[in-house]
C-alpha cells in the first residue's frame, strides 16, 4: 500500500523536478523511487494485507505482479534516459504519466473490489491516452492517441455497464461476494449476472487486446512513441492480464462464458498470427504478435488450473522482457535508418554489430518459443495446461498457430543474419547496451533455469 502512495507521490515529485531540476536527474530519481517502492513491497511480503475495508489486497499474486511491473518500469526508465535525450520539453511529464499509469497497474494486480478494478483501469488508461499522443506535432501520434482514447472509453462504457449489472444481480461490488454468487446464483437474476459478467469480461478483453476487441492495438502501437509502445505492450498488458485473471480466478464461470472465452481464444490466436505474417512494419508486427500472445495466455485461462497463475506470471514477464529488449534494438536501428520502421532495417545487423544481432535473435527466438529460451518454457507450460484441462483441440490449434508465429520472427532473424557488405551503423549508448544485454541474458537464463521465476 505504502508503495502505491510512494509511487503516486513520486509522480508528483517528478512533475516538480521537471520544472526546477536539470533533465538528467529525472530518470535516476524515478528509478530510485521505484526501487524504494519495490523495497516497500518486499517488506509487505507474505503479510497478505488488506486496505480500504478489503478493497485492496496485497496477496502473493498481487505482490509478485506488482514487483514485476515496477521492475519493468525501471527497465523502461533506464532505456528512457537515452530515448528522451533528444527531447527538450515535457520529459518530466512523460515519466510522471508513466508512474501514474503504473499506480493504476498495481491497483489492477491486487484489487478485491470492482471499484478498485474500475479505477485501476482508468488510472492506467488515461495517462496512456496522453502518452500515446506524446509527439505533439506528429499526425500518427495524434491519430493513435485519439483512436486509443475513443475505443478505450467506449470499452470502459461496456465495462461499467457490466459492473452495474453485476451489482444489480448480487448487490455488491466485492469480488468474493460475486465469486460466491457465481457458484450459488439467486434464482431469477442469473441472466442479469451473466450479462454483467459478459460485459465486464468484454471490457477487460479490450485491455488485453483480445479479438474482436483488439482493433486499437496495431494502430496505437504503431503510432505511439516507441517507449510508450514498449510500456503498453509490457506493463499495461501484464497488469491487464493480472486483473483479468484475478476476476475469474476463483469463479466457476457459467458454461456460456467459458464458451465465449474459447471462441475468443481461437479468434485471437488465428487473427494475431495470421495477420502478423504480412506485417513489414516492425512495431505493427509486434502489435500483432502481442495479440497472438494474448491468445496463448487466454488458453492458459481456459482451464483455471492451480498452476495458471504461475504460468501467467512467467509468460507475461518473459514476454515483456523480450519485448522491451526488441523495442530498444528497434529504436537504435530506426535511428540508423532515419526513422524507417520496416523490418529490412535490421538487414546485415550481424555483420555490423554481432552481439546485438545475437541478442535480437535470442529475444525473437524466445518470443517464437524455441527451446532453451524462456519463451519455450512459457509456451510449453501453457500447452501443458491446455491439454491437462481438456482443451485438446484448442491446444492443438494453438500449437499450429505457434508454428505460424515462428515464421514472422524467423523472417526478422533472417534479415538480421543476411550477409550484407555494409550493415546498419548502430550507435549504442552504454545504458541501452546494458538494457539489451540484460534482456538477452535474462531470456536465456530463464530458459535454462525457469525455476528462478517460480511463483
Amino acid at each position: 500500500m505504502s508503495a502505491l502512495i510512494l509511487i503516486s507521490i513520486l509522480g508528483v515529485l517528478m512533475l516538480y523536478a521537471g520544472l526546477m531540476a536539470p533533465r538528467k536527474v529525472l530518470a535516476p530519481l524515478g528509478i530510485i523511487g521505484l526501487l524504494a517502492a519495490l523495497f516497500l513491497l518486499r517488506s509487505g511480503w507474505n503479510v497478505n494485507t488488506e486496505f480500504f475495508g478489503h478493497m485492496v489486497q496485497f496477496d502473493g499474486f498481487g505482490l509478485v505482479f506488482s514487483e514485476a511491473l515496477i521492475l519493468l518500469t525501471v527497465l523502461l526508465f533506464v532505456f528512457g534516459v537515452d530515448y528522451y535525450a533528444r527531447l527538450h520539453e515535457n520529459v518530466a511529464e512523460q515519466y510522471a504519466l508513466m508512474l501514474f499509469s503504473l499506480v493504476g497497474a498495481i491497483m489492477l494486480t491486487s484489487y478485491q473490489h470492482l471499484l478498485i478494478l474500475f479505477l485501476g483501469i482508468e488510472i492506467l488508461s488515461i495517462p496512456l491516452y496522453i502518452l500515446a499522443g506524446g509527439k505533439r506535432d506528429s499526425f500518427r501520434s495524434g491519430e493513435a492517441a485519439f483512436k486509443y482514447f475513443v475505443q478505450g472509453s467506449f470499452a470502459s462504457g461496456f465495462f461499467l455497464l457490466g459492473i452495474a449489472l453485476l451489482y444489480g444481480s448480487c448487490a455488491s461490488f466485492d469480488l468474493a461476494v460475486i465469486q460466491a454468487y457465481a457458484s450459488a446464483p439467486i434464482p431469477g437474476t442469473e441472466m442479469l449476472f451473466l450479462l454483467g459478467l459478459f460485459f465486464t469480461i468484454a471490457g477487460l478483453s479490450f485491455k488485453v487486446a483480445a479479438v474482436p476487441f483488439h482493433f486499437w492495438s496495431p494502430d496505437v502501437y504503431e503510432g505511439s512513441p516507441t517507449l510508450v509502445t514498449a510500456f503498453m505492450s509490457t506493463v499495461v498488458k501484464t497488469a491487464a492480464f493480472a486483473a483479468f485473471y484475478r476476476l475469474i480466478q476463483y469463479m466457476d464461470l457459467p458454461k456460456a462464458l467459458d464458451m465465449m472465452l474459447v471462441v475468443m481464444t481461437w479468434l485471437t490466436l488465428f487473427l494475431g498470427n495470421i495477420v502478423a505474417l504480412r506485417q513489414s512494419q516492425f512495431k505493427r508486427l509486434m502489435a500483432y504478435s502481442g495479440i497472438a500472445h494474448t491468445g496463448f495466455l487466454l488458453l492458459a485461462f481456459l482451464g483455471r488450473d492451480p498452476l495458471t497463475p504461475s504460468v501467467l506470471f512467467f509468460y507475461t514477464v518473459t514476454y515483456s522482457i523480450a519485448t522491451v529488449g526488441l523495442f530498444v534494438v528497434l529504436t537504435l536501428a530506426k535511428r540508423a535508418a532515419k526513422g524507417d520502421e520496416n523490418i529490412r532495417i535490421f538487414k546485415g545487423l550481424f555483420r555490423s554489430s554481432p552481439w546485438l544481432a545475437i541478442v535480437t535473435m535470442l529475444l525473437l527466438l524466445s518470443l517464437a518459443g524455441i527451446p532453451l529460451t524462456a519463451g519455450f518454457v512459457a509456451k510449453y507450460r501453457v500447452f501443458l495446461i491446455g491439454i491437462e484441462s481438456g482443451f485438446l483441440k484448442t491446444t492443438a490449434f494453438a500449437v499450429l498457430m505457434a508454428l505460424v508465429g515462428i515464421y514472422y520472427y524467423v523472417i526478422v532473424i533472417r534479415e538480421a543474419f543476411t550477409p550484407r557488405d555494409k550493415g546498419p551503423q548502430l550507435v549504442v549508448s552504454p545504458l541501452n547496451w546494458l538494457v539489451i544485454s540484460f534482456c538477452g541474458i535474462a531470456v536465456m537464463l530463464l530458459g535454462l533455469f525457469p525455476g528462478l521465476l517460480h511463483l
Partner: protein, 110 residues
C-alpha cells in the same frame, strides 16, 4: 426524507429503469459508432456513462444500499477526467488536420 426518495424511485418498477438505461446506452453506442463529428462522439460517450449511472442508482435504490451511489460519484469523476483528456486530444487533432472528422484519421491501418 431519503426514504421517500427511495419509495418514490420504487414507484417505477426496476425493469423500466433497466430498459431505459439500456436504451440510453444503446443510443450512446449508436452515436459513438455512426457520428463522424468528434465532439458528438465525446458527448455520446458521456451518455453511455450516464446511462450506467442511472442504472446503478436504480439498483442501489432497490437494494437499498448506498455503495452504488458512491460508485456513481467515482464514475462521474473519471468521466470528467476522460473528457478533459479527450478534448485535449481533440485540440491536438484539430491542429494537425484542420478538421474534427473521425474519418480523417486513417493513416494507421492494416
Amino acid at each position: 426524507m431519503e426514504q421517500e426518495v427511495i419509495t418514490a424511485i420504487r414507484l417505477v418498477p426496476l425493469e423500466h429503469y433497466v430498459i431505459l438505461s439500456l436504451l440510453l446506452f444503446s443510443i450512446g453506442i449508436a452515436g459513438v459508432v455512426f457520428r463522424r463529428n468528434t465532439i458528438i462522439i465525446l458527448m455520446c460517450l458521456e451518455l453511455m456513462f450516464n446511462s450506467v449511472n442511472l442504472l446503478l442508482t436504480a439498483f442501489s435504490a432497490y437494494h437499498s444500499d448506498p455503495r452504488a451511489q458512491v460508485f456513481v460519484f467515482f464514475i462521474m469523476l473519471v468521466a470528467a477526467a476522460e473528457v478533459t483528456v479527450g478534448l485535449a486530444i481533440l485540440v491536438m487533432m484539430k491542429r494537425n488536420v484542420d478538421s474534427v472528422d473521425v474519418n480523417q484519421l486513417n493513416r494507421l491501418k492494416w
